[in-house]
Assembly symmetry: C2
Homo-oligomer: 194 residues x 2
DNA sequence: ATTATCATGTAAAAGGTTACATGATTTG
DNA sequence: CAAATCATGTAACCTTTTACATGATAAT
């Protein structure tokens, strides 16, 4: 999958591994991320398979830049992947839900603290999606007005991230309320009265 | 992470690898899944590390059952993991969004077909979460009424899956409408008039 | 002074998938 | 008669993470 993120990005313009990393960090990070080390090894494999080619731009005082460019074979591989439908939904992997599922015996306050923290983190993510992410799409479209439909797709993925964060916040508030409603008789203990 | 799903499940009752797989398929599958082969190797590693122990129940006509049981060390590892907070949000990995992000130049009808298919799949998942998943939690609680808080947590994870599926359906309908609204002048081409 | 940015990679380990190997019994 | 269920595992492979290795320049 990282393979197609790299092909798709290099289909817009040639870049180094380092630039691909920062591009991903500012755009795909809400639905796909990768470490630099993985990007470098995947680029090497894609070049070996003929989907990319690279050239060296010498530099002084810092490592030479290796700029990757997509080949025709790369464009073909990308397009045929984009055309084939996904016939199942992506299985989720949510560590938070694993914890929660087994947290029936966990201390109420320990659990609530964890849920409040997650809520804070999703609020922060939501702000970032509504501000930075939105602005950077507008900026990119402004630079290349021909990419109108592309920008529409970027906005759609941003919007999915936004709805997701909103959903998680709603859900967290729902279960925080549910857990707070447990054992109303125990509440005075919080005041240190016993 | 699979490690903690196995410890958490075996903390309810001892089971074989095969039974753990079917338990996961009927309960954690909306937020964590694994193949049998991975379950078997992970169980072996957990036993090597002293968090589980196994015993053989001989059977005729089919392979002996290897039943795993959690140890005190296993319970301790589970509890200390449950207590420690998650300090960041889970990075998502959504193949569908990767496709969409790079689909700006993709044929409108090819794209719409893919989005309609995904919508169908999420509708099916939503039905399953509202029917099977809900019923199986009620059933488990009925068998062991002492697990009231546990059942509350199971319901919370089910509910998250439900909200997620609803959100994805909303989002898919939103972008389907957006793409259908593209280029209204091209619509007559569909009738084969040109 | 420390941190961020630019810039490259390799190696080992962990996590996860796919394929292989076996085989009786039950259900549709 | 085919598929699902029960029941175990191993081996090869792919993906991803973590750690190692280097080092100048610019910003805070």
């Amino acid at each position: 999958m990282l393979k197609y993120v790299l092909l798709g990005t290099l289909n817009y313009s040639s870049m180094t591994g380092y630039e691909l990393k920062s591009f991903m960090d500012s755009s795909t990070t809400y639905f796909w991320h990768a470490r630099l080390s993985q990007i470098y090894t995947t680029l090497k494999n894609l070049e070996r398979d003929g989907l990319l080619k690279s050239s060296i731009e010498p530099q002084e005082e810092r490592p030479d830049r290796r700029v990757y460019e997509i080949t025709q074979a790369g464009r073909d591989a990308l397009n045929s992947w984009l055309m084939e439908p996904l016939t199942s939904i992506e299985p989720r992997k949510e560590t938070l839900l694993v914890k929660l599922f087994f947290a029936g015996k966990l201390d109420k306050d320990v659990l609530l603290a964890q849920l409040h923290l997650q809520r804070q983190l999703y609020l922060k993510e939501l702000r970032s999606l509504r501000e930075q992410a939105k602005a950077s799409i507008q900026q990119a479209l402004h630079r290349s007005p021909a990419l109108e439909y592309d920008a529409q797709m970027w906005e759609a993925t941003r919007r999915c991230g936004e709805l997701y964060a909103e959903m998680m916040i709603t859900w967290l508030e729902e279960i925080i309320a549910m857990i707070e409603a447990r054992n109303p008789d125990d509440a005075p203990a919080k005041r240190g009265a016993r």
